[in-house]
């Protein structure tokens, strides 16, 4: 059964998405080759938008190239680099280029990236940008001017999964009130904690796609615990990584186990293999997540 990402979100089937990081430069064959290898393993590719505030190729261009190669794409769009005019014009451009799915987020601050002296824009926040998207879909721009033809995006937003942060849950509810088709989460390592988070937001009726980042070493796990917001890796997993003879393989096993558990708790999985897809197919296979995925008539 071939269907669009939108139809899949509404179906009973579990969803798998993964990330494509645009290149630092104009070399496009690597990400196109990664996407080709994973074509029947995932439902859509999420294209990151100058992630961690590191300057890379425009996700709009990467999204278009992926689209042309027959892939379903989700365009990430952050509030950091564009004011309300640029955001709206890029959104209209994305739709015209055939990109139908977007995922809205605030964006990491410019000081965290490779151009720390850049002006951080943040003209809109993520809730306000979602309001803009809603208005565009209704046929108006933010100022209330009519559009000749409105886009009809499938709209996602992101969330941390810490059940102890009520302010994050309040903000998520604001995002939901703007009309969301899916919620993509930060990486989850503790399924019990994730269950608590789901309980906290059980009034929200939007499909949730849980983030998974395969660990590569105990050092990486410890670094993520202290440096990556919204991530908490339990000591037990760090210990498993420390005692593993082959940490890379252990990381894949852990991720596969997480995928198997999380698939039963929410709508699907968003796999973020931190820049490289060397083991993505293997991981999806081990976790029992490959079963002839196809998208959008391709």
């Amino acid at each position: 059964m071939v269907s669009t990402f939108s139809e899949k979100l509404q179906s009973h089937r579990s969803i798998i998405t993964t990330e494509i990081t645009p290149p630092k430069g104009v070399e496009t064959s690597s990400f196109l080759s990664d996407a080709k290898k994973l074509k029947h393993c995932v439902d859509a590719f999420n294209v990151t938008d100058n992630q961690r505030a590191v300057m890379r190729m425009s996700p709009l261009a990467v999204g278009k190239l992926l689209k042309d190669a027959g892939h379903e794409t989700i365009l990430q769009i952050t509030c950091r680099d564009r004011n309300r005019l640029a955001l709206q014009s890029d959104l209209l451009g994305a739709w015209a280029l055939g990109i139908k799915n977007i995922c809205v987020m605030t964006g990491d601050h410019t000081t965290k990236g490779d151009h720390p002296g850049a002006k951080p824009v943040f003209d809109l926040d993520s809730v306000q940008l979602l309001e803009v998207v809603r208005k565009l879909k209704e046929g108006y721009d933010l100022s209330g001017n009519c559009l000749e033809q409105p886009p009809d995006f499938v709209v996602g937003a992101v969330s941390n999964t810490d059940p102890t942060q009520p302010m994050q849950h309040i903000k998520l509810r604001k995002k939901v009130s703007m009309g969301l088709d899916f919620i993509q989460t930060q990486a989850v390592y503790d399924t019990e904690e994730f269950a608590c988070f789901l309980e906290k937001i059980n009034d929200i009726d939007v499909p949730i796609i849980a983030g998974v980042i395969p660990l590569r070493s105990a050092k990486m796990a410890k670094f993520m615990n202290t440096h990556i917001p919204g991530i908490r890796i339990p000591d037990e997993l760090i210990s498993r990584m420390e005692h593993a003879e082959e940490p890379l393989q252990e990381g894949i096993e852990i991720a596969a186990q997480l995928i198997r558990e999380l698939k039963n708790m929410c709508k699907g999985i968003h796999l973020m293999p931190v820049g490289q897809h060397t083991h993505t197919k293997e991981l999806l296979k081990i976790s029992g997540s490959i079963s002839g995925r196809q998208y959008n008539g391709q």
Partner: protein, 202 residues
Amino acid sequence: MIISSSKTFEEVLVFLEGIDNVFVIGCNVCAARLHVGGEPEVLDMCAKLKAAGKNVVGWALPTAACSIQSYEKLVEKGPGIQKADAILVMACGSGTSVVSMLVDVPVYPSNNTDSLGGRSQEQVIPHLCEMCGACNIQEFGGICPKANCPKGLLNGPCGGSISGKCEVDTEQECAWELIYRQLEKTGRLKLLEKIIGPRDYN
């Protein structure tokens, strides 16, 4: 209070390269409280300039550098200004601008103007107000996210804070953590549910 900080003396000397007769103007309000433009700092600057070979023709300490009435008032406070080839202002950008409008010689800043903040319980609080011209601080329990949050987020925190600390400066508490606590303390958590629209920069 306008928060300003001193440039290094080396930077100041680069500005004054080739200039002999220098007049120094401080500010007895914000810069004095922050110890970057009061009398002790002005006298210290004069001494350093002299040691660096400059002819310091005088100094003045107006009540507020941003509110000097006229050139004549400056002459009253420091007649030496009439012999100056350049003026060094130890105040915020507003003070330096006002002095520039009143004199006919080049004016140089010895301070960087950082923000609109305050001082309480002997602590300098650097970011309190962004002077947006549309105050709605009551929505946030009196803690303005436009000034306190580096992203100026109006509808809640980003996903970047770790253990309640700011993504940009991990020594600082997340502005939204402070807002939440203040609203909780005053029984107004309901305010957090209100959706705040985009700012109007017009």
